[in-house]
């Protein structure tokens, strides 16, 4: 049973990339649902660096077919989609979410908040599977259908999956680190809550044989920028993200990985 705070709300904390985001609600069932969904990524609610207060409403109270919009209202970020309205103040680190009692809305809010925080800190969320092998992280990026889940399913036993859908990457020291995320794709299970230095980035392409072809930095940067999840159009943040992407491809080997669905493709990933 989730713990009730002095204010009468129930809360939990979801820590991705070492950043705990506290989530509170008056409904203990909702918090319990989140704790099941994000098991493996839970932290102490009291330690949360960012806090989101969730107001649960009936599903019909929010417009169903609205597209995602992220903007700025003064210093607060505002986010809305058919199934939620949210705002978040990066100074006070407090935010509110108005949504129905489904996990998908808060899942999206978490992704948006992480993408904003990461952009400031020299990192990004990427449409990519990622995994640790031999203490190093390998990232496999591609749009839906490119093979992120397929290559995750083919992973041999010495590989630890960080995610099959959304990778979390952040600058660290002389390079970049990839962190596990609970954001699952078709594999249907969260990644492991671990991190490792990024050894290589592969852009996936299905083919009739297995081959890894090094990409020139400019081509790698174009592809990387296409696959980064970023929702805001604020100039300083977009410029920062651009610099991060260019820096990443200058420091991390990037390949196009053509593969046919077979476990042998992992022979190329070392």
């Amino acid at each position: 049973m989730p713990r009730m705070s002095e204010s009468g709300a129930y809360g939990t904390s979801v820590a991705i990339g070492g950043l705990p985001i506290g989530i509170s609600s008056a409904d203990p069932e909702f918090i319990a649902m989140l704790e099941r969904r994000y098991a493996g990524f839970l932290g102490a609610a009291d330690d949360a660096a960012i806090r989101l207060e969730v107001d649960l409403v009936a599903p019909a109270r929010i417009g169903d077919d609205e597209e995602l919009e992220v903007g700025r209202d003064g210093r607060r970020w505002t986010m809305s989609r058919g199934d939620f309205r949210a705002d978040w103040d990066p100074i006070s680190k407090q935010g509110r979410v108005r949504q129905a009692a489904y996990p998908y809305a808060i899942d999206s809010v978490l992704r948006i908040v992480h993408s904003l925080v990461l952009a400031e800190r020299g990192g990004f969320l990427l449409h990519a599977a990622s995994a640790i092998r031999g203490g190093r992280a390998f990232i496999f990026s591609g749009v839906s259908g490119a093979g992120k889940t397929t290559i995750s399913r083919l992973a041999p036993s010495d590989v630890t999956l960080l995610t099959d859908e959304i990778s979390y990457v952040r600058e660290a020291g002389q390079g970049y680190r990839a962190f596990g995320t609970p954001f699952a794709g078709e594999l249907g299970r969260p990644g492991e809550n671990l991190a490792a230095p990024v050894a290589a980035l592969y852009f996936l392409a299905k083919g009739s044989s297995d081959a890894a072809r090094p990409l020139a930095a400019s081509s790698a940067a174009r592809r990387l920028l296409r696959n980064i999840l970023f929702f805001a159009d604020e100039r300083p943040l977009v410029e920062k993200l651009f610099r991060t992407a260019c820096d990443f491809v200058s420091r991390v080997p990037v390949y196009e990985l053509t593969f046919r669905p077979g476990a042998e493709v992992w022979d190329l990933v070392r």
Partner: protein
């Protein structure tokens, strides 16, 4: 004969990677890659130097090409970049913006 002046749009972020310039439109996140020749023109697009001067000063000695042919190619290129909204092209100098 009127001159052509070019200036990089302030709504762009750019960085040289290898021998190519990669440019992103900050307004809509579109990404462009310029080859070495176009990268030189982009780098010299200060709004003050004419395109003809840029071609004669930076391209002709570097690539040992015919000046007039290079200038016509450069005109076509800057027209395309202007259409994409990442380069300003005018017939008069474009002063530096105040900070």
């Amino acid at each position: 004969m009127s001159e052509t002046y070019i200036k990089r749009s302030r709504d762009t972020a750019a960085r040289m990677l290898g021998d190519e310039m990669i440019i992103m439109s900050v307004k809509d996140s579109r990404v462009f890659t310029l080859n070495p020749t176009a990268s030189i023109i982009w780098g010299a697009a200060d709004g003050i130097t004419t395109l003809r001067e840029i071609v004669a000063r930076d391209l002709v000695p570097e690539f040992e090409i015919d000046t007039e042919a290079a200038y016509q190619d450069a005109l076509e290129l800057v027209g395309q970049l202007a259409q994409e909204g990442i380069l300003m092209v005018t017939d008069h100098p474009i002063p530096a913006e105040q900070p």
